[in-house]
Amino acid sequence: MRAFNRYILFLVLAAFAVNTTIAFTSPNDLSVYFAVNVITFLVITVLHAYLNPRARRSLSAIGIVLFGGFLVIVILKAMEVLSN
């Protein structure tokens, strides 16, 4: 199996497993879905370190955007906790 195919397959399987698990545990919180999916994406991307440089650059750009979104969620949650 090619490196790209393996990476996509791992990502799809992980997303399926994670989203199914969250759906059975805390189905009403959209931020949990987003945060856990971002972490899954980052972990799987790090584990596939041997992709070619152009692919890694593109994936890093996506990772930065997603991580930015993750930080926004964390900040909002922190502000929510502090204001209570």
Binding site: F4, I8, A61
Partner: protein
Amino acid sequence: MIGFTCVALANARPYISPEASELILKTGMENISALLEELGVRNKAIYLPSSLREGRPQALIPLTGTPDVAHIRSKIPGRLVVRYGDGPGDMALAVTTPGSINLEQLETKPGPNATDIEAAVTYVLTGLLDLANSVTVNITETEVRVEVSGPRLHYEDIWYYRCLGSPIASIVATIACEALGKPLRIAEEEYNRGKNNIRLEVLS
């Protein structure tokens, strides 16, 4: 998220189609094969690190006999037909191999140990070229043994491969010789049960 990833990966594919790449590879191989065949050269190539060549690692195909590595001059000129020693018959063809060019794409030069060589070969064969699934490297004083799992280019009994080895073995040999800083030769190459076993002889 998966959609964005797919788009990013699709854009990361090379601009040249695989068919065009294969065409260029085969043209180059056939030209070198014709040259070797015309000269009647059957000797196995010696892979030299960049410290012995001007700038990039290359393969030296001796025109007569098997050269004694001790006789190889400290620096061989960057030409096609080169004199590597002081003897009248110490002539060879110096050719650039696929590994010579790949080596420039490595971020750091691998160190002279099995871990570094394995990481570099895995990066090139699995990540950059997508030519294999995984690579294992073992080193002793006199040889380097490399096991390439799931290779997508196999050894063929053709003139080019007999002299320079298969493209995979050639890439492995170039990276290993650059890492060790010593000349080496592809001593043996066999394909068995989806694995390419390459034995490199370290010449010093």
